[in-house]
């Protein structure tokens, strides 16, 4: 079985992990167009290269980041998200709701 190295739990069977999608920047939901939002939600380069992606170690409920090649399936690096994200990200959900209030 394929083994992935979890930054918290060490090397584990790939079946313990859940794929969480590519790490990509979310557009500002208050200002972006529908097309930009669709691009974020549905569209993807989906190409052959090393991509940076979210993974979840299911038994420990732990999210982390992996760099993996999309053709060889080789996993080059796994690390804690704190290496990329060092502060809380707010999605301004409340103000978005206000913007959608019926007129």
């Amino acid at each position: 079985m394929k083994i992935m190295n979890c930054p918290l739990n060490g090397p584990r069977n790939i079946s313990e992990f859940v794929y969480g999608g590519e790490v990509k920047a979310m557009p500002n939901i208050l200002t972006c167009t529908d097309r930009e939002w669709a691009d974020y939600v549905f569209y993807s380069e989906n190409t052959i290269r090393v991509i940076t992606e979210w993974w979840f170690h299911s038994p420990s409920g732990y999210w982390f980041i992996a760099e993996r090649h999309t053709a060889t399936d080789e996993i080059f690096k796994t690390y804690d998200p704190s290496e990329l994200f060092n502060q809380r990200i707010d999605f301004e959900a409340t103000s978005a709701l206000e913007a959608e209030k019926p007129v």
């Binding site: 794929y19 529908d34 549905f42 569209y43 380069e45 989906n46």
Partner: protein, 415 residues
């Protein structure tokens, strides 16, 4: 007669040498009216209908490997139309109808076998969705009904009615469900197309797409550059990669899909049987082998390797459904890479580039649609870009306006 054997053995040429199905390779011409990228079922079907219905024969199919060696060769050939949405059912229903006449149309046996397809429900929620699917299918002229456990037992006496402690509560019985020899479909179309003048170039990989002023003008290949009037891409798992050559980003993610087959046994299973709760579908081929498969791999990848994980989980489910399979030997396991859309419907029609047409997003369910895809893509091209009504709902820009055609529940582990 041993003597006739000896005669053939000593002869320089073989009995049917001059009776081959496909013309021998030629040089690429400088220009074609239509270039089709991808010599899978969809590509050759499009060429066939272009030549047969529209008289367009200055057509080149460029295939980087060999004819039908992609997902056309790897799929498990479930043919059915019992989807959920009106857009989907109408489209797949026409394809199933076309399949019935293909052997005649080709004068070539595609071994079409109309055995019916049975999907199992293990929960109330599934039964409700089955009711809806039966209604929609019936509305469009298909034969589909909800059946009870007693009827299921009669149809498939060997089925375990309590697999993995999930009792079978009901079934969606789709009488139009069928299977066919997948390779023969590609061969039949290729033969018919090339007989009418279409060129099939195998071992010819498209490496770039030439675009001038927003219009597709030609392609670069490992055998040189050709110019053309228009381009159709039908490359399944490689959709995003070829589209990127034309500067197009697609709402597609590529996942492997695996399947496997056992040693042959005597006929025991007439219908195709699937259970999405168990992530497994099982059918017996005309040769007696049991073909079975399940859901896609759990993460995206451009690789046709097989995995132990999937073998394990799929075998577990198959043995739950048909316990006697535990005694069988596995003969082969394989995989294909599939171009998945988030709504489990295809992407067909126009693209942001003029004269560049898309036939993509076929994921794990595109074999059954081969005839209707060929027919409607040919119509699209022959009309100079007028989108046939039957494929209009599958335009790529449906995602931009959040108007998906959701077939996820009706596709899942049945393909």
């Amino acid at each position: 007669m041993p003597f006739s054997l000896l005669k053939y053995g000593l002869k320089n040429d073989y009995p049917f040498e001059n009776d081959i199905d496909l013309p021998l390779p030629t040089e690429l011409k400088k220009h074609y009216d239509v270039v089709i990228i991808g010599g899978g079922g969809h590509g050759v079907a499009t060429a066939f209908y272009l030549a047969k219905y529209h008289g367009i024969t200055n057509v080149a199919i460029l295939e980087k490997g060999y004819l039908g060696g992609g997902n056309t060769a790897r799929n498990t050939a479930v043919i059915r139309s019992n989807y959920l949405t009106s857009e989907g059912v109408r489209f797949y229903k026409e394809s199933v109808d076309m399949f019935k006449g293909l052997s005649n149309e080709f004068d070539f046996n595609i071994m079409y076998s109309s055995r019916g397809q049975l999907t199992l429900a293990h929960t109330d929620a599934t039964i409700r969705s089955f009711r809806q699917r039966a209604e929609v299918n019936t509305h469009f002229g298909g034969k589909t009904e909800l059946i009870d456990p007693q009827q299921i037992k009669e149809l498939v006496p060997t089925l375990n009615m309590n697999p993995a402690d999930m009792p079978v509560l009901a079934g969606l019985w789709h009488m139009d469900g069928a299977t066919a020899r997948h390779d023969a479909v590609a061969w039949g179309y290729a033969k018919g197309a090339t007989q009418r003048g279409v060129e099939l170039h195998q071992l010819t990989e498209v490496t770039d797409v030439i675009i001038e002023n927003g219009k597709a003008k030609g392609v670069k290949t490992n055998r040189g550059t050709v110019s053309c009037g228009c381009i159709i891409q039908a490359v399944a798992g490689h959709s995003s990669i070829v589209a990127a050559m034309a500067g197009i980003k697609m709402p597609i993610t590529t996942y492997p899909l695996q399947a496997m087959v056992t040693q042959p046994v005597k006929p025991f299973l007439d219908p195709l049987v699937s259970s999405s709760a168990l992530h497994c579908y099982v059918q017996q081929t005309g040769r007696g082998e049991i073909v079975f498969g399940g859901g896609s791999d759990p993460y995206p990848l451009y690789n046709t390797r097989s995995t132990l994980d999937l073998k394990e989980s799929l075998l577990a489910s198959a043995v739950e459904m048909f316990p006697f399979m535990a005694n069988l030997k596995l003969m082969r396991q394989w995989s294909g890479i599939t171009d998945m859309t988030s709504d489990y419907s295809p992407i067909m029609g126009l693209s942001p580039v003029e004269n560049y047409y898309l036939d993509a997003g076929w994921g794990t369910w595109g074999f059954k649609s081969t005839p209707i895809c060929g027919k409607s893509m040919a119509e699209l091209v022959a009309s100079g870009g007028k989108v046939p009504e039957i494929i209009a709902p599958f335009a790529m820009d449906r995602f931009d306006v959040f108007r998906q055609v959701n077939e996820m529940g009706a596709t899942a582990a049945s393909h």
